[in-house]
Amino acid sequence: MGHNMAADDNVPQEFRHHARPLLLNGLLAASEAIQRLERPETPSADARSPDLLIQIASAKAAAVSAGDQDEAKLCWQAEAIARAQLSFEDSFELMKNERFYEAWCELEQCEIIVASIKRHYTPSPDDLQRIGYIETMVARWQSIYPYAIFFSPEFLKKRVECSTCGAKVSLRNPCGHEKGEIYDGEQCYHRVVELKLLSISAVENPVQKYSVAFLSSEDGSGHRDHYDYSIVKFAVDRLISPYHGWHKEIQTRTVPIEALAHLLPSATCPCGSGTGFGECCASKQEVITPHLQFVFYVQPPEGLPPEQLNF
């Protein structure tokens, strides 16, 4: 794919001589770049190579100059796949470094990139570029974060412009560009240039995941991260690579009452009811507690506690 005869026929003669040599200068075609983005978990994978991204950009510019929209679109796919892999790997590194909120924001970026790719690219059954894997794992990482409340704005869009041509987005006189489609190797989006803010609400499932509710700092000058990231840390500490998969299983386990002798009656009951231990399960012989278990597909490094965690 990638060679569009109809488009080439419309290319001025002077460009026909330049287009292919430029493409050959590094990459045969975007499909080769996509091939080089296979199996990012292997040491030879080169999504992180600046050369590859430069070569893709160069190939895209040549394709656009040649009027080869199919090739330009493939270049966009290659760029987006590389960006998704990099973003996923970056979020993993941020979690490793205990920069959890930054990792959360990067996971959101990764989710957005993957969503934009899915419209134009169907992973192969083997998912060689690991886009399907990344999509699944981003959702799994997000699911173990402690965030529950987010701030979300509500607004009226008063003027919206097309990113491709800059025209005002119109109901009855559309510019012809569809949001999400690829034109000249770039994805079209709508840019809100004038809006009216209507409200800001606290929600559980926000459009913008980065808008996490934090407490203000002691001196009121900023915010403080009061969240408990122990579950995220537990998981990331047991992984060497972002491409080592895992899933969680929510189970229950039975705890003899003697094992809870240290709990005061006023403590929150470990059964998860939300009420006090004294008025809930303190008089029982056994307490059934929720139990989160991680299943790691690659053996965690030695010297760590068992891969189980209670909450």
Binding site: A115, P153, K157, N173, L198, S199, N205
Partner: protein, 197 residues
């Protein structure tokens, strides 16, 4: 999330909407539309009408898929078309008026739009409503809020309702329809009368 499906007869029928003074420059087109997408009314103080995000894209998708079968219109002139960006990651559609005969096709196309165009995940929340107009001049509103994976329940509900309508005896008095349906000119006259009142 739990599925919420509402089915009720609505007084906010097509003629109610055509009398709102919208799409004045395109009245002939919207009056004769087979599928009419209407805005949210009085969503917030000072915002009498507004549309959910990407309503224009949805209308273009439906028009393309129903080309030659049905005429799709949005009840607004260009300057009246304003979109909302709302809280919460849900896919929301404005109310669509559709005849009983076209309703099953519309629902199937919406399902295709949700999965193929929006690339919704099974757990994504969908909010939509359609008003099905039957040949007895009733307007039945079906509202759905639930996960994308449960959208089939709307298909079932619409099929059931369509079957009931199609097998029911058509309105005995055809004048009932002709008297209820107003021409654009009549609506304009009505608007003028309202303005003067």
């Amino acid at each position: 999330m739990d599925i919420q499906i509402e089915v009720n007869e609505t007084v906010q029928d097509r003629f109610f909407w055509l009398g709102q003074g919208l799409a004045h420059n395109n009245l002939a087109e919207v009056s004769s539309a087979d599928l009419l997408i209407v805005p949210l009314k009085d969503f917030r103080e000072g915002i009498p009408f507004a549309f959910h995000q990407d309503t224009a894209s949805l209308a273009r998708f439906l028009a393309k898929k129903m080309a030659g079968q049905a005429k799709v219109e949005v009840l607004a002139d260009d300057e009246e078309y304003l979109e909302l960006a709302l809280h919460g990651a849900s896919f929301r559609f404005c109310t669509i008026f559709v005849s009983v005969a076209l309703a099953p096709l519309l629902i199937n196309l919406l399902s295709s739009y949700i999965y193929d165009e929006l690339k919704a995940k099974p757990s994504d929340t969908i909010e939509m409503s359609v008003v099905i107009e039957d040949h007895q001049c009733r307007s039945m509103h079906i509202g759905f809020k639930g996960d994308a994976k449960d959208f089939n329940s709307v298909v079932d509900k619409v099929s059931e309702l369509s079957h009931e309508c199609m097998t029911a005896k058509p309105a005995a008095d055809s004048n009932t329809q002709s008297s209820a349906r107003k021409s654009p000119a009549e609506i304009e006259l009505q608007d003028t009368a309202d303005d003067g009142a």
